[in-house]
């Protein structure tokens, strides 16, 4: 999908996000078991896996809202565990696990976050992003009165308000109808190409992954079990689409295809 020149995936120096030996225990349960990966600057990478694979746990650690048991995370060259406030203004995220204040209007919500991110001329930026996400007509409606699809668009608008260099997206188009979902993807793709933003996307929509992502990291039970570009994975598993690849990996059938070496191949 990208128009960027091909880059070496193996160089951690080129990584916007570098994760090394990341672990997370919840008591006796080990949710993430020492994973390492790198996300190249200016690309979109999918973090895939079934329920409980460790995607949200990993994203939460990347955002600094969950403390890892062990390991290191570097975002844009900054140690996230020690100096996250240096890089948080250049990041943003959207997740179904969070919401925005329902009694505030869309405009008020965006204004609060514009101020939190220290955006100059927030009114101008809000009008601009409202146009881009077709929110102009609902700017003065309470967020709680919006449909699920409208709320998702507002959450995405909030996530792009500060024009982030690193964007973490957890199921960004899950509740959107196909039309709006497609427009959102188009917008995200365009934004990514123009800004050279790095996106890490957790999604269960494999068509979305095939369309948007340069690289895929597959998690199962807290372990990176495979990674590569969608094209590489399709070839490696001999499948027609990413849905089938996902099922192969999620059900542990990658050994039948004598694959999985990709996990080490691109580990930072």
């Amino acid at each position: 999908m990208t128009e960027l020149p091909p880059r070496s995936i193996e160089s951690p120096l080129d990584a916007a996000i570098a994760v090394t030996n990341l672990r997370k225990h919840y008591g006796a349960i080990e949710a993430v078991k020492g994973i390492s990966f790198a996300v190249r600057r200016g690309t979109t990478t999918a973090l895939l896996g079934g329920n409980g694979a460790g995607k949200t746990t990993t994203l939460s650690m990347l955002l600094g809202v969950l403390t890892p048991t062990a390991g290191a995370i570097t975002v844009l060259g900054t140690d996230m565990l020690r100096r996250r406030y240096r890089v948080l203004p250049r990041m943003n995220f959207t997740s179904p696990y969070v919401d925005l204040p329902k009694r505030l209007t869309v405009r008020e919500n965006l204004r609060v976050f514009a101020d939190l991110y220290g955006i100059r001329e927030p009114k101008v930026r809000i009008v601009e992003i409202a146009q881009q996400f077709d929110l102009t007509d609902i700017l003065d409606r309470p967020y709680g009165n919006l449909s699920a699809g409208q709320r998702t668009r507002v959450s995405l608008a909030k996530a792009l308000l500060n024009r982030p260099d690193v964007l973490l997206l957890d199921e960004p188009t899950a509740s959107l109808d196909p039309d709006i979902g497609d427009r959102m993807r188009t917008y995200l793709e365009r934004y990514q190409r123009e800004s050279h933003c790095t996106m890490l996307l957790a999604s269960h929509n494999m068509a979305e992954v095939e369309r948007m992502c340069d690289d895929v990291i597959m998690l199962r039970a807290g372990v990176v079990v495979d990674q590569g570009s969608p094209a590489q994975l399709l070839e490696r598993y001999g499948r027609e689409n990413m849905d089938e690849v996902f099922l192969d990996i999620a059900r542990g059938r990658q050994n039948e295809h004598e694959v999985g070496a990709g996990a080490d191949e691109i580990t930072a």
Binding site: P89, E128, R163
Partner: protein
């Protein structure tokens, strides 16, 4: 939807560090709650409702008892003043903990904690909102005290400002600790925000002197800033003297309690970060 046509323009930010950057983020948090408060007159009225009704009750009780009671003859505004000052403590605490609970209810805590907002700025925002809520709640009751009973708590002058500040600060300390406990144990512990403060009411000497308490309870009472404030208020109203010793004691204790409140809240945030509760906690 408009096509994604707009040419990309790099972000233009204010500086992200320094006092002004912090003040801007605190203002953003205050703005978020001010939007909520100011657009709902029932919400505004409800803040002033309870202190006003309580004040009216005690004022009528004073009118009833004053003709036969020497104590109330000497200090007719005693109970009204006590009620208003108690409410400063109550509203001060509530302002801090309700700000936090509101974020939990709206599942907005995750958005705030992945933004550049620091924990100390979040606390500063809670305290600012506590001052606003107290001003609305107690201010409303003060107006009614004047309109209905011609009683002005402001006639106390400087001692009022000093005691007011001490009670607010103690309220913040309790509010921070309560916020931490709610984060630790979930919204099931929400009742603490409303009822927790009443645990200190019997030993604060709001309506009676600390000397009436059993000796062992007096020791506990004097370990709380509130007891020193209300004893000090009694000295002003009954003897016409301002007891600096009570003020210094309250100040010293408040420093300790505020530090404890911040520590409890920080520990709860650390616990939440360790257990993945910041993104997932909510109604």
């Amino acid at each position: 939807m408009a096509p994604a046509h707009a040419a990309y323009t790099p972000a233009s930010f204010y500086p992200q560090t320094g006092f002004l950057a912090s003040a801007r983020r605190v203002r953003a948090l205050v703005l978020r709650h001010a939007y909520l408060l100011l657009k709902s007159w029932p919400r505004l009225v409800s803040i002033a409702y309870y202190p006003t009704v309580t004040m009216v009750l005690w004022a009528f009780l004073t009118l009833y008892l004053a003709p036969t009671n020497n104590f109330l003859k000497d200090a007719p505004g005693f109970f009204i003043g006590a009620v208003l000052l108690w409410d400063v403590l109550f509203r001060g605490q509530l302002g801090v903990s309700l700000t936090f609970i509101e974020e939990l209810y709206s599942r907005n805590l995750g958005n705030l904690f992945v933004s550049p907002l620091r924990l100390r700025e979040f606390i500063a925002g809670q305290i600012t909102l506590s001052i606003l809520r107290t001003a609305i709640g107690v201010g409303g009751a003060c107006v009614f005290a004047w309109l209905l009973f011609r009683y002005s708590i402001f006639s106390l002058g400087f001692p009022l400002i000093a005691f007011f500040t001490m009670l607010l600060a103690f309220g913040w300390a309790i509010g921070l600790a309560v916020s931490g406990m709610i984060l630790r144990w979930g919204l099931g512990a929400e009742e603490l925000a409303w009822a927790g403060i009443f645990l200190v009411a019997p030993v604060s000497g709001v309506y009676y002197p600390i000397s009436v308490l059993p000796e062992w309870l007096q020791l506990i009472a004097y370990a709380l800033p509130a007891a020193h404030v209300f004893e000090g208020m009694r000295a002003v109203l009954l003897d016409g003297t301002f007891r600096w010793d009570y003020l210094w004691n309250a100040l010293a204790l408040n420093i300790v309690y505020l530090a404890l409140g911040v520590v409890v809240f920080r520990m709860a945030i650390r616990y939440a970060r360790n257990h993945g509760m910041l993104l997932q906690m909510g109604e």
